[in-house]
Symmetry: C2
């Protein structure tokens, strides 16, 4: 846990330079535009501890699996979105001495991430060993208007000397991943060129053979006058540079504007990369920094119009929630159905930037409510596009007849993870992917998604569940053996409640979808039957049998469903009785002790109760919450949001707020001491859910928005924006009021505290309770 | 499965050279003497596929753990007995052309391992590319008389040419392990020298800093005349060589005798290694090949006197069992309590040559019955010496108060294995170590072992069990959660019958031992109480409570104890109904499919029934055998022997013989296609048990030998040797007779087919049934 970020409503502020925090700040101040991401590395050389990271969406390397003991079915590789060409770099020398904050005295260091406008700035005064002092200011953004473009402005003011400043902007592709399994470098050079103020560098990934062309251009001014001397160009392998020398006297200010264009074979033919990059960089240079930034800034302001949450009376909370929304919007923009949301986005190497079930379970609701439906639809199409790979994956594990098991971790539909208890057993992910289809349609009413896309995925998943259960002669029930639930502190258990529940739910929902398709799209459904060799009578017959006879472990003493068979054989000592020395258990205890303990890493049984709350009475929800919450250590960042929402649902308002606090500033305060690895992007969706679905009590039911809001005791008010059925709503909870403003022409049916009402277009309704 | 080894009662014979089988033969024809081992690599260069292996007992490298996903508690390294200086090497050139069987035509290739005398010979005719033909014969052994010494005689006969033969004996320490986790070499050079016909090379292991000095000397003769020309010496890093050139004409025979001495810091101070090696090699050279061999051979003949098994009427079985006995005796000689028995002995890299529970469970009975008690005692002392490390290991996992968990895999008492489901959970190994103490004392009557050694180990293990169980409120019983039984096709299960059973057994036995010590060694026991801070009343009180209230999963439908909780939730389809395509399942199925299946890799519940057969009625044994055997795939080489013995016990003679056949020639026939990795040394102990305890029905009960023999249908007779209470017995089963010959002066009480009788010294008794 750290505490060095200053509170501000719209800005993330760091004052003073502490090398100890550098990797953390590099993560926190990351910028991105959905197509690329850049850690907050310095432009100038930095020889201190740093994790350099420039990431390009979709450009990955299949790093050969590292494993101690191979198990049949393990994947050959782990895909990683890899560190790519450093486009921000500018080497600076002052009278022959290199500017390197690890080697100089640093004063007045300040870093600001302006979330409202999407701009990272940094300023400091450096005193070099030769006594020369410079004042440096940098501004940087990656454009959300033109996602190929990165731009920065870097100014150096000579404070107390005259002499020569050397400025060498460069492109460096000779980079590596710290997490490379076998210390390989992943890039080879294809071509390069540098001429005057322009240069480009094309690299290709090994094995996957992606090409990325990075182009740069720059302009230097001294005291506002453009510098026209031709720079000295130089190259070496995977590197181009242009060096400009300037004579300065005390008080002079030198400013460099550097632009980059990143064009990859993910979007363009390989033989067009250089050409496209050159065109791109030329346009950017012509427009200039200010004009590029203006377009970028305006788009950010528009994003905030549909996604902002305002909190009055708690600036730390305000900063926290805006930071989460900002980073979610920086990570995924929904323009490309081949892209998805990595747990760390583009802010570090951990988890390889690839896709987990986090997307469906924790991120989809945010995009559903703050962006047009087609954005969320892209996330669904991503999985639909991977259906054949999911079927292949299931085949590799011994399933057949089109059963689909989506990977635990993937970038292209193929499984990447290699822990047997997760890869093969954490199969509830399949349910999350099915649930996302339901969630999307419930929110958007886009039922037509089912015919060409949704049904096929549901069929594959239902077939998987149908084969994955087996009949227990002993129990005279269907059972599901050898699974790992969302709580990864239990492995290879039998009859995990959540997994069994979502399996049955998937089967039921698929049956509903079949009824719908038969009614609405009878001819198309016939085609689907034939395409998928779907033996409706036989297959749905088995499904119905499973739905009827599925086993759910139940404890009649506590009147709760059990997380898995045998859970009550454990010593159920609440977390509150653990000593501080024991926590976090994932740091303090051996793995087997964790496994034998009753402690829950993240919502598991409660995940089902959250998703399927209408299947349970409020009393049942309470019983389960009261049973599981005291045993939950929340050592996953994805856990507290679910407990927060459930607590709100059952009226535990204080608990709900406590849970919210555990993730709201997770990265800003480096709560888990791991922000240096990158940001917890997907958990940010959970924090958003805590406010909107927890405090706001927002649900959607049959095209109606429901709210059951409350105001956390410490806040004066909160307000959030919702896109729903084409309408833009602003929803505000104050001490005694609940206000909905409809900023569109569309009438929206809502229910507030169980009172149903229509909100006319461009009107405002105020509720009291 | 291969079928190229020729049948012979005393010899292992390969005829014809097939490079495809080379690695397999290198394993099969391995020689060793308990202090070192040597794969059957060629003396001359071989550029074809080969696994070079020269191993020195106790000399290991802690290879850094390779793991995909770290779990708290994993060890930092995996200890490996490493490939060390190649002392057999002789480069041969014929008229400038190198002799290399990968590059020449090979005729009349023959390799023979003479098990009776411990001699490996090889002969062939090679036709080089230049047309020169040579006839080569080599003989090689590692002395069991002087375990530092290896010796070889290598003769080359010029068949069809005149010219020059170059002979370059060398020592090569620039060797590597194929299984190095990070492609490191493990040795650095300390010193070397070569002068005339002698050379030495001292190397040191990285990290562990063991030093090994290898010395060589050699003599060359031509047509029986000693060659006196001084050889040309050369060195490079970690390598010394002496080259001798000889002019030959057609029909000439050149013979080189090469000796090596291997002296390590495991046995000598580092500053004495070179001196000791030189003395050793000088003595060996003075004695000469024939004299060294004579002593070696005579000791082998003596070993056979106490350990041979003779089978009449089945030469394949005869060869198989002798091969197993031979390799066991080559691997462990019981001279050093710091040494143990690796699953592959000194015959390959797999399993690192380090210690598993195999030793206690499968090897101890062989050494108990075929060697003096002090040999087996060394195996027990090995674990006693590691007690403090076992306590530390348990502490690392969160146990306290002197609880001891012996490692799954170790060389020095520290855990080396890194699969959580095994490292942390396959804890029945602790029970095997306790059981070995009982087994040793039961066999040898050496109860005095308990006071200084046995009790301490039992106390540590009992304390572990006492903490490892927990009270289930639900069951009102003690349970043991999250374990892996001997059947590694189930992981992280609850209440594994075998583990629970052996835990309770350990507690009971420790209580018995305490009673004995209090009676026989009251003062010593007081000291032990104080040394171990043993709160007898409180601790044994809890033990008794656990003994009384331990939970054992039981299936009342089938009237059998279940391997673990929930076992009958599985679909119990017998192995016989699996298609051939599905087997072996460890090759054909994904890991999760294996885990969900009911199939048993190796005896698990039946392991308890084998060890504790007297706790069960014959009907109970049958019920369990009938339930579990049809579900057992025996994909561990350690499985069939237990089934074989149990089958014999309950009168399933044919089944017993079938099971015996599955391991008797495991390596000779490369049954599992993995002999190239090394031999299944520890399973060889199981094969021996199948005959003696299975067919012979031998048991020991209160200082009495019991026999319930039968003769497998295809055999004419079998005969085995037994050391018991100082007496040497020869036990023979013929068609209608059972004969015991007592070759000692000691009277031995026996029971044959439940009839009790005393066998007087130097007498013979014949039984009929």
């Amino acid at each position: 846990m750290k505490d060095y970020i200053k509170y501000h409503e719209w800005q993330i502020i760091e004052e003073g330079f502490d090398p100890e925090n550098n990797r953390i700040s590099e993560s926190i101040f990351s910028i991105g535009n959905g197509k690329m991401g850049q850690r907050a590395n310095f432009e100038e050389k930095y020889s201190g501890d740093s994790l350099r990271g420039s990431y390009v969406a979709g450009i990955y390397y299949p790093d050969k699996t590292r494993v101690g003991w191979w198990k049949n079915g393990y994947p050959e590789y782990f895909a990683k979105i890899i560190n790519s060409t450093n486009w921000i770099g500018i080497n600076i020398s002052i009278n022959g001495q290199e500017l390197d904050l690890a080697e100089t005295k640093v004063h007045s260091f300040k870093r600001i991430l302006d979330m409202q406008h999407g701009l990272l700035t940094r300023s400091f005064v450096a005193e070099l060993k030769n006594g020369n002092q410079v004042e440096v200011k940098s501004e940087r953004f990656v454009s959300i208007d033109n996602t190929a473009i990165g731009a920065l402005r870097y100014s150096i003011k000579a404070i107390n000397f005259s002499g020569e400043i050397s400025i060498s902007p460069y492109l460096d592709g000779d980079v590596f991943n710290e997490d490379s399994n076998y210390d390989e470098k992943f890039w080879i050079e294809v071509s390069k060129e540098v001429d005057g103020n322009e240069g480009y560098l094309t690299l290709e990934t090994l094995k996957t053979e992606f090409q990325v062309c990075s182009a740069m251009s720059f302009q230097v001014q001294k005291n506002g006058e453009k510098e026209i001397a031709k720079p000295v160009n130089s190259v070496r392998e995977k590197y181009v540079e242009a060096k400009q020398l300037l004579n300065v006297k005390s008080g002079d200010e030198v400013v460099i504007e550097k632009f980059s264009a990143t064009i990859s074979s993910f979007d363009y033919p390989k033989n067009k990369l250089v050409e496209t990059a050159k065109e791109s960089i030329n346009r950017a240079t012509t427009n200039g920094f200010d004009s590029l930034f203006e377009n970028h800034k305006n788009l950010w302001l528009k994003k905030w119009e549909t996604s902002d949450i305002q909190i009055e009376g708690d600036v730390a909370a305000q900063q926290g929630i805006r930071y989460n929304i900002f980073q979610l919007n920086q990570t995924y923009s929904g323009e490309d159905e081949r892209l998805n949301i990595g747990p760390k986005g583009f802010t570090g190497e951990k988890y390889g930037g690839v896709t987990y079930w986090d997307t469906e379970a924790y991120c989809l609701p945010f995009y559903l409510s703050t962006a047009p439906a087609e954005i969320s639809k892209k996330l669904l199409l991503y999985r639909h596009n991977h259906l054949s790979k999911a079927i292949e994956n299931a085949q590799n594990l011994g399933f057949n007849n089109g059963a689909a098991l989506y990977p635990m971790v993937t970038i292209n539909g193929e499984e990447c993870h290699n822990e047997w208890e997760i890869t093969f057993e954490e199969i509830h992910r399949n349910g999350a992917i099915a649930y996302a289809i339901y969630n999307y349609i419930n929110y958007t009413s886009d039922k037509e998604y089912l015919a060409p896309y949704g049904f096929e995925v549901l069929l594959g998943i239902s077939r998987f569940w149908s084969q994955r259960v087996n009949w227990s002669e002993d129990k005279q029930k269907y059972v599901m053996l050898g699974v790992t639930g969302p709580n990864e502190y239990e492995n290879n258990v039998n009859n995990n409640f959540h997994t069994n529940y979502i399996a049955v739910w998937t089967l039921k929902y698929t049956l509903e979808v079949i009824d719908y398709l038969k009614k609405e799209f009878p001819y198309l459904f016939e085609e689907l039957i034939s395409k998928w060799k779907f033996n409706e009578l036989k297959e749905t017959g088995r499904w119905k049998n499973i739905i009827e006879k599925m086993y759910f472990p139940f404890d009649s003493k506590n009147n709760v469903f059990l997380q898995q068979d045998g859970f009550t054989d454990k010593e159920l000592i609440p977390v509150s009785e653990l000593s501080d020395e024991d926590q976090p258990i994932n740091k303090k205890w051996s793995w087997d002790r964790i496994l034998r303990s009753p402690y829950i890493k993240q919502a598991d049984t409660l995940q089902s109760l959250f998703w399927f709350e209408n299947d349970f009475s409020e009393q049942e929800l309470k019983k389960h919450f009261d049973f599981y919450e005291p045993l939950t250590v929340h050592e996953s960042s994805l856990s507290p949001c679910v407990h927060s929402i459930l607590a709100a649902k059952i009226g535990y308002e204080e608990k709900s707020y406590d849970m919210y606090l555990r993730t709201a500033r997770l990265d800003l305060d480096d709560y888990n001491n791991d922000t240096e690895d990158g940001l917890h992007i997907t958990s940010m969706g959970g924090t958003w859910m805590s406010i909107v679905m927890g405090f706001g009590g927002m649900r959607v039911n049959e095209s109606r928005l429901l709210f059951n809001p409350f105001l956390p005791g410490k806040w004066k008010s909160y307000k959030f924006k919702i896109d729903f059925g084409g309408a833009h709503l602003e929803v505000k909870k104050e001490q005694n009021n609940f206000i909905i403003v409809n900023h569109s022409d569309i009438t929206v049916p809502v229910s507030v505290w169980n009172v149903e009402v229509q909100i006319q277009g461009n009107s405002k309704l105020e509720f009291k309770k």
